[in-house]
Every structure is written in C-alpha cells, then in structure tokens.
Point group: C2
Chain length 742, copies 2
Amino acid sequence: MSWLAGYGKAQDEESDNLGVDWVLQYDFSDTAQNQAIAEFRSLIHDLTEAGLRAQVRHGHGSSLLVCLRVPRDHLGNMIHQSRTKDWLFGITHSLPEGDENTVVHAETAAEEIRSVYHAVTWKKELGGAGITANHGRWKNVTASFPLHDQDACSQLLGQWNRKTVLTTEDLDTIRALFGEKVAFYYAFIQCYSLFLIVPAVLGIFGWLYLGPYSIFYGIAICAWCVVFVEYWKIREHDLSLRWGVKGVGSLKVNRPQYQWEREVKDPVTGEVMKVFPGWKQFLRQLLLVPFASVAAVALGSLIVGTFAFEVFISEVYDGPMKEFLEFVPTILFSLSLPGINSFLTNIATRLTKYENYRTQDLYDLAQTQKTFVMNFITSFLPTLLTAYIYVPFGKFIIPHLNILRTYDHNAEVASHQAIEVDPSRFQQEIIYLTVTGQVLGFAEEIVLPYVKNVLWQKWRNYRDHQVGLTRQRSFSTATDLLLIDRSDEAKFLKRVRSEADADEYKVEDDILEMCVQFGYLALFGVAWPLVPLGFLLNNWLELRGDFFKLTLECQRPPPIRADSIGPCLLGLDFLAWLGTLSTAAIVHMYRGPVAEVKLSSLLLTVFVAEQAYLAMRFVAATALQKIFSDHVRREEARRYAVRKSFLEANNSVGNGSPGPRVRQRVRFHEKVNVYNPTETPPSYDGSPTPSVEESQDEALRGSDRESEFWHGLSCDTADAGVKLIRALSGSRPVDEKWTKEA
Amino acid sequence: MSWLAGYGKAQDEESDNLGVDWVLQYDFSDTAQNQAIAEFRSLIHDLTEAGLRAQVRHGHGSSLLVCLRVPRDHLGNMIHQSRTKDWLFGITHSLPEGDENTVVHAETAAEEIRSVYHAVTWKKELGGAGITANHGRWKNVTASFPLHDQDACSQLLGQWNRKTVLTTEDLDTIRALFGEKVAFYYAFIQCYSLFLIVPAVLGIFGWLYLGPYSIFYGIAICAWCVVFVEYWKIREHDLSLRWGVKGVGSLKVNRPQYQWEREVKDPVTGEVMKVFPGWKQFLRQLLLVPFASVAAVALGSLIVGTFAFEVFISEVYDGPMKEFLEFVPTILFSLSLPGINSFLTNIATRLTKYENYRTQDLYDLAQTQKTFVMNFITSFLPTLLTAYIYVPFGKFIIPHLNILRTYDHNAEVASHQAIEVDPSRFQQEIIYLTVTGQVLGFAEEIVLPYVKNVLWQKWRNYRDHQVGLTRQRSFSTATDLLLIDRSDEAKFLKRVRSEADADEYKVEDDILEMCVQFGYLALFGVAWPLVPLGFLLNNWLELRGDFFKLTLECQRPPPIRADSIGPCLLGLDFLAWLGTLSTAAIVHMYRGPVAEVKLSSLLLTVFVAEQAYLAMRFVAATALQKIFSDHVRREEARRYAVRKSFLEANNSVGNGSPGPRVRQRVRFHEKVNVYNPTETPPSYDGSPTPSVEESQDEALRGSDRESEFWHGLSCDTADAGVKLIRALSGSRPVDEKWTKEA
C-alpha cells in the first residue's frame, strides 16, 4: 500500500497482509454440497473474469475464505479510469493525463481499496465481478471486506493517545485509511468536541455561580447550538472540497436492487439513463409520516407504560419487595425494546426498499433518516416525559395510578396533597444521562462486544480444533494439505478468519450516537451546567474507543466516498430548533416553583425563543459564510487556474503558430498607438483621421444614411464638440480663440 | 442587431438607430468653458483609445450628445473574449472555439450591447474607456445609455396585448432585448400572476360562501404563499441555467469605488486579487440593525402620529370644518414622507458605500435590502397598526387623544363606553389597498410620469427653438452647421435627446413593488377574499404598463446579467413567514367579537401557525425540488457531455494514433478470454494456469512469503475450493467422487 510509503517495509510477519486486497467468505452450511460446488465455481469464474486473482483457504466451520488480489497494472488502470470519471462528473477540475491504458499509483490506500471494491462489486457491464454479499445469487457470500492495515492502525491509535486534539492531518490519515465517509465522522466528533469546550467552561462557571436553570446559561447553550450547526455545515463543505469529494453522490453507480420505470436516452449526453420519476418517489417517501406515527405510538406507549409502572412502584406501591420491584419496569423495557426496535427497523427497511433509490448512498440516507426518527423517540421521549409531564402534572397523575386501591378514600385524599413530585427528579435524570448513561453506553458499545468477541473466537478455535481432529482421517492427502494451515500462514489466516467473523462497521450508528448526545445537550443541558463537561470527557474516550472498535472489532469498511455526514445534518438542525424551545420552556418552568407556572406566559416565552432562534440562525449562517468563505473561493480559483492553463495550452496549439506570439494582448489592433509622438502631437487630440478609419473599419455596413451619419461631418469629433461647447455656452463671444486654434 | 434577424431590414426611418450603439450626454452647464473643452477632449480621447468611434451632436441646453459605435470586428472580438471569460469562471461548460483574435456574432442584442457597455465603462486596464457616468472625473457625463430598439419594443407590446399569458419564449425575447436582470423581473411577475389564479378562484368561492376571516381560506393563503416562494426559487434556478447565467456574480469586475485592504497573489491562479476581509464587511453590515431601528422609529412615529391625528379628528374632534380637516393628516404625511424617505435613503447609501462591496451587483443588493426595510415599514405599518392596535385597543386609546378637553368629565366617561371601534374599518382599509391603492399606484407610476414627460419635452423643444433663434447669428458657418440638425437626422436626434433626458430604469423598484403586493396578500389577504383577484387584474395591467414605462419613459438599461431577483427573494421568505403569523392572528381575532379575544389563546394560535409554517416550508421545498429537478439534471448532463466529447477528442490526439483504435475498451487485456473453447473447456473452471499468470503479472512484488501464498498451492483455485467444500461438508464421505474428478 502506498499509504505512508516507508511503512510497508517495516511490516513484521504478523501484520503483513500477504498482498491480499480483499476477502470473501463463502458460507455453505445451509446449502447442498452439489449446489455449493456449482456456486463456488461460478464465484471463482466471475472473479477471474473480472481480472481478479483468487486464493482459497478454509474458514471457520462450513465456510471458505477467498483471498483476492487485483494485478497491479489492472488496479492502476482502474484507478486512472476512476479519476477520469471523477473529472467527467465534475468532481475534480483537472483531467488526469493519459489514455485508456494508463496505469497510475493510488494516492491513498483508500483509493486503491475503493477500486478493488469496485472490481469485486460492480456489475459485469461496468467491468466488475458483480459480487454483492448477502444478496440474490450471492446470498452465501456472507462477508466481503478488505483486510485491516494493522500497523498503520496501531501506530495511529498510539499517536492519538499522546495528544488531546486531532488535527486536520489526522483526519487526512483516517481518510487515507478508511475513506471519506468514515473520516467525516471523525471530523464531526473532533469539531463537536472542540466546540464543546466553550459550554464546558461556561458550565463550570455556571455550576459554581449560577446554579441550574440559569437564563444566561440557557441562552448561551442555545446560541452555541445554532453556531455549532451552522459552523459544521461550512466545515463539512470545506472538508469535502479538501478531499475532492464535493458532489460525489452523482457519479455513484445504480444499486443492483434499483428498479427503473423506463430507459431514457439523454438528449444531451446520449447516455441511456434509467429513470424513476421524482414525484413518484416523493409520494412513496410520504409513507414516512405514517411510519413515524406508528413508531411514535409503539415506542411511546412502551415508554409511557414503563414510566407509569415505575412511578407507580416508587411513589404509590408500598408492598413487599419494593426495592427489587423498582427495577422490574426498566428490565422489562430493556428486554422488549430490541424486539420492537427490530420490528420497526424491519418496516423501515421495507419502506426504504419500496422508495427505490438509485444509489446505495441515497438508500443509506433514507434508512438513516428512519433510524433517526426511532432513535429520537427512544432517546428523548423518557426525559421529555419527566420534564414536561411527570414533574409538573405528577400530582394529578399519580393518584390515578393507584389501581391497587391499597389506601382507603381518606388516605387517598391525603396523598393527593402529600404527593408533590420533587422537581429535582428531572435534574437527577439528566445527571444520570450525562455520567452513568455515557459510561454504560461506552461499555455496551465497545467493551462488551470486545469481550464477547474474544470469548467467541476462543470457543470457535477450540471447536474447529475438535472438528479438525475428527475430520483429519477421512480425506485424501491433497485435501489434507488444504485443511491444515501452513505454519507460515497460520497467524495470517487466523487473523483473516477472525476479521471475517467480525461485525460490519456502520459509521452511521456512530454519527447518530453523537447526534443524540448533541440532542441531550440542546434539549436538557440547561438543567445541569456540567452536562457539556461530562460530554467532553466522554468524547475524548469515545473517539479513541470508536477507533479501537473500528480497527479491532469490526471488518474494515469499504472506503466509500461521501461529501457530508448525511441526514444527521438535518437532525442537528432539528435538534437545535427543538433545543431552543425546550431550553426556554425548562428555564421558565423550573426557575421558580413548578406549580406556579402559567400556561400563557410559558407559551409567550417559547414563542419569543423561537423567533430568537430563527433570527440567530439567519445571522450565524450569514456571518459564518462571510467569514469562512476562503475554501470556496480557493476552489473557484482552482477551477479558474485549470481552465486558464488549458486555454493557454489550447491557444498555442489550436493557433498553429508554435513559436512565441508577440502580437498577443494587443487588444485594439485596428487603432494606431495614439501616444506615438511621431504621428500625432502628444495631446488629447489623438483620434485618427476619418480617412484612415474608413479603410480599416470595413464593418460599417448599412444604409447611406447610416454612413452619412458617421462620415458626414468633415471635421474631427473632438473639434466638433469643442465648437459646440463654445456655441452652446451662449453669452461669451469666443470667435477669436476659435480662429486661433483652427 | 442580430436579434430578430429579418427585422432590421424593415426598419423605417424613424426608428432606425443609424448604427449608434451607445450615447453619452455631456452636460457642461455648471462648468467653465475651458475646463469643459479640456474634459470633452479627454473624453473623446479616452473613447477613441478604447477603440470606439464617436460622433457629436448638440443636446438640450448646455449639453452634448456623443454617439458611440464599436467597429464590428472589435465588438465581435470583445464578445468572444467575454464568452471565454464566462468559461474561465465556470459559467458555461464549453470553451468557445477560436483564439484571441476570433470575431464572433452576438447571439442577442443584449449580448452585443453588454460588450459595448463594457467597452465604455470598464477600466482602461481591462480594455474599456473607463467612463462611469456621474462619478468622479466624469461627473459631467450625465447620461450613458444604449438606444431603444423601437420597432422590436412596439412589436412586442403589440403581441402582448393580443395574449393574456407570457410564455417562456416571451421572456427569452425580453432577455434578448434588455438582458437577464430585467428579464428576471418579468419572469417573476409572470410566475407570480399565474400563481395568483389559484387564490383568486378560491377567493371568489370564499367571497360567495365563506365570508372574510375564514379559517379554510386563511390556511389556503398561507400554504399558497409558501409553495409559491419555494417554487419561485426553483424557477429562478431553472431560468438562470436556461440563460446560462448561474453564478455570474463571481466574474463581475470590481466597482471603481471599491477599496481593498491588500493585494493578494492567489496561490492557485497567480492572479492578483484585491481583498477586503469578509469579517470586516460583516461587522460593517451589522450597522443595518441601528439603521433599521432609526428608520423604524422615524417612519413609525410619523405614521403613528398621522394615524393618531386622523383618529382624533374623525372620532373625537367635533368642531368646525371637520370634513376638511380629516384630510389634513394624510396630506401632511404625504408631504413629509418624501423628505424623510430621501433622508433615510441618503443614510442607506452612505452605509452601503461604507460596507465597501467589490462588485456593483453586491452593492445594488445591499442597497435594495435597505430600501426593502424602509418600504416594509411605510407599506405595512399603517395597516398593521389598524389591525393590531387601533381596532382591538381603540376604545382605550381614543379617549386619551382628547387633548382639547372639549368635553366635561362626565361626557368623557360616557364617550369611554360609547367609542367602540368598528372592526370593519380594517377590512375597508384592505379593500382600499386592493382596489383604489393599486389603481392610484399605477397612475402615479406610469401615467403621471408620461404626461409630465410629454409636457416637459414640449416645453424644452419650444425653449430650444427660442434659444436657437437668438443664437443663430453669432457663430461661424462651421458651427452653424453643427447647431442645426440635418433634415434626415432631425427625427433621430430628437429621439436621442428625449431618451437622454429620460429617467434611468431601476428594475429593483418594480420587483420591490411586486414584493410589497405579495406582502399585502400574505399579511392581510384573509380579511377580504377578493384581494388576490384584484391583484391579478392589476398585474395584467402592471406587466404591460411596466413594459410601456421601460420602453417609452426610461432609458434603455444596460443589459446587465444576474442569476436571481436578488435580495427580494429573502424578503419573500420573510413575508411568507410573517404572513402565516399575521393570517393566523387576524383569523383568530376577527372571527368573533374582537373584545372577547384572549391573549393566551391568540398566542397559542400563532405559535401553532408558526410550526405549521416551518413544517410546510420543509415539505414544499423537498417535494418541489424532487419534482422539478429536471433542469439541474440536464445541466449536469450538459457538463458531462462537454467533458466526454473533450476526453474523446483528447484521447485521439494525445495518443499519437490518429487512426481508429480497435483495441479500446478491452478492459481486462491481461486475461485470456475464458469463453474461448479452443483454450479451456467451456466450464466455470476457466481461470488460467498459474504459469501463464506468473509471466503476465509482473506486479507481484513483495516477499517470498507473499509469492508463496499466491503460488503455493499446486492446484487450481476453484478445484481447491471444491476440495475444501467437500472436506468441510463433513459427514458425507465423498472420496470416490473426488478421486474421479481428480
């Protein structure tokens, strides 16, 4: 790999990828042997036909590992063609030099692997092998991934542990290893964490001197949210220009699942386009509304039920085992959530499939949108319930929960007054979310899978060993050779097998997690000023943990290009808006006693906050665009430079005069130089005589009247004007002077 | 002119422009004769130096008319260079053919005149004559304009009178005559008027069956506003692509008044750029806030004062001459408004100058923004006062206006109850605005100036004639010849003189007028359902009246390019937003008795309306973009086509092989064709033998281990896999089969 050129030489044996570009796992555990053999033959055939070299090894259990390698000159040519395509679609401005057979070196490992990815997955018409894992004909290809560059990853992780802030160069390195889509996540978390420093400092100040629900701190948080979102939009645009991926969505190939209505030959390009009408897609997208409603009702009722149950036990119930029963609702909720979630995800996937997007990018985008809706409900609804329903209206609701009628009527009336929900419960929940929740989330996301994975690998190896022992005697020597790893490959193959078993890395999930965190801050941050500090510390760990997960727990993702963090951007906008309303409402409600809040004044506060939000967003967007317009300008300059140089090259070729052209840039070549003292006096009176002009200006066509107009006066134009000025100035008789000059 | 090619031949004498491309008026009435002579000489010198031919005639009073003509081949070359510049800045995708001396014909009259405009106004470094009228050295150049193409204009106006709806081709014609900036106004009024049909029809229905303040009609109006604004954004984008002006702002030259802080050599292009930092400009722009406040206070207090005075006279005052005094406030207001307005415009112009914009476009944009703020206040504040202050709170306010103490205390108390403001006053005001106001506005804008102009011209001609009579005897014959128009030029010169005296056409004012109309509809339309119908009828006339004004009352504007209607777009957005809030509030307040309205429920209504607005705008923008994405796609296709054809041309040149290249598109040329039955059996088992591959794949560098991995197994990959499948399938003993195949 050309990434960090001096690097490959120092590779030790363990981390050497043996030149394997890509690995496919073929799993035939559920397939009849004959069918599996036919399928596998056709797999190898397709791969070979697409110019890939393949080696096969056995995987865990009933699976094979196909190691692929693209011959270097074929790969170099693919990279060149990909760059040419970038230029064709206007992603880059300069056409790469060379013709159709040119072979180039990749700039980054990601560029190289992307071409390999294309060679494996693109349809045969486009020159690929057409292998889409887990889909259609290749349902048995259960994994399709490039191998990790272990040295680079561990070196990077080591570097990060020695510094606190990632630089843009670090992001470039991630981009070089994993492609733009992943790099955008790290750019986002880095930018977000740096921005978090401001509210974290303000928060410490607020915690010491202002206390919770401070108006000043609330305004600061809202302003910060708006500025951050607007800044990130610009930063994203900058990065997409830096990495040369702006507008990259348009050149993506069609998804294999895409169904078009008709083929249209483009009148301009002559290319055949597969068209699915936009209005139809929009109508289908409208199904998002019932979906969101269903999801809201399903998840909402689950959450409300759990909540009511929990409140009932903690506030009303007074029977035996109260301390244990208090955990029951949460446990039940946690147990049923995955089921409901997977049910909803199932619906979401069907909807997204039905919406029929042309490219995988658009498909992922739409799917993430739906996930965002679900995540929004599960993440924020419980806290919203606490803040806006439970605390203010708890005293009316709780008595109704007393379905067991454990009290007599009098006691109930008494409890009516006695049960006054403690407003600090809301703050406690926020503190829990900021501290415990984040730590638990980290453990669940990174530590738990790691432990699980290690144990699973151990068990797998043990089982394979056992199977190997029983199997060893039943086959020919040739097969035996295949079944036993050669000693020098053993470690490598062990790693390949473990990577084949690993999960796919979904960068969308990580981005979504950060969005949810941003949402907590925007919506509820004002309740406890230390929230941003907690998030800042968490993100320091999160960034490294995510990278650890990416490199050690997941398959290396195909280095897909993207020019944005995707639909989460819209989510950020939405959360900043909702956050302003929510912050205003919380400050208004919780500053004084909750019971004394009037609906009309609350409404007024929220209304004013919304206008402030709209105004602030407008100002922030305008100001930031004005201030950070450098990159965009630079991009325009680059395009200009490319075109300029092309024009100059073209002019010197197209002209047929290869020598230096001296007469260039004489713009008004039909005029004599008026400053030449030998021809005319060095005065302003320098226009050529009409007779000279007549012969030069052959273009003066038209009627006689026209030519008379232009040639009618016998004297020079300036002189004529001077005469007129004198004449029209009126009173003063200037005949003598006129005669003198004439 | 090449616009309507067959047309120029039929020109009769009166409308023939005698080949004059451009006219300058030099006014020396306030200048000493010697200075005037020197200035005029230098004017002619500069023009001649820039390659322009000039003829001089006398104008009205102490002024000269300089008729300019650019020699056709110089003009053709300028047009070519301008097109090349468009390409350099990425406005167009295809580089115009030719070199620096190429001469082309203009596509439209506007393109031709634009190049003449550049030749006259651009700085000398850029190849122009540097004549900026009314500025600096050329303060005495009081007019600078191209001549109208009278035949084309009258023909166009005649065509329009025979049809009701302008087509896109009509817009193309306007663009060809007056340039894109003017054409965008007509596109806007056409699009807006067509859209108006929907609320007009709904309005008739609403007038017959629903009455004013209908909820249904209010929602329809709000939705219509949002959809219209979002549609117009797309339409504007479409047109800018159709006319090839997208992003044209970037290539505009610096204003002569632009002051830069430092010159920066662009690292990419090597061009020297004159930079004024964006953040500084933004800080200066922030002065808009105090300006808007001052304007609001000044205009607002004037309006409130007038309003209070009027109310006082009509409701409280009961003395003599009441019927006459009622008109006094309005008359005073009308008299003082121009003064205040010009004072504020003066401040606004200073502010805009201070903000220091690079191009004239940006300058105009900023100036229009400020005009918009002022117009907003003067147009909407009176009606807003009526709707939200006078009608609901009138009964509290009016008694306080009784400063004359004409009543005794008891009577005052009585009046306190008696004065109940009639809510229909608000509706009456709307009806007045829709019917009388629009008619008066039309008369004021178009009829009055026309009459004034005709009378003024008559008086001028009479005076000139008188002066001519007294002057005739005092000069030489040569001067006399200049002072008396030749009979065949007389009519032409009369027209030129009258055009030189005419006003400059400001398209921004017309656009602003339409925005204000849209604002009335959005803010108050719900009060009288026939408002849109009134506006629709008015616009039918307005469109023709404006064109009449443009062609007969104003100078032909220089055909400037633009890719939008400018800052009014933001105004439309703002008005649609405010309109939603206002409509909701009006419906809520005026449906029932005004006195019974509660603030909290009103607030809730407005709050809900705002959320509905935000949601609707999001949906409308998404849906319309999806549905009308054709033009954008076509633009991408065009770029693609241009690049593709270039690539193909380049490939055949750069390759050095001019003949047909047969071997192209063989992507995997290092592989043998696996389907060739003579070399390998027609099975899936078609990968080449390792030995063949080894010789071809010279790129397989790397360690021995690596090469061993790729060459180690002696058998074919597919065979190896098949062996492994058999081996790993486990239970079934398949040794016989294996042996058979081997």
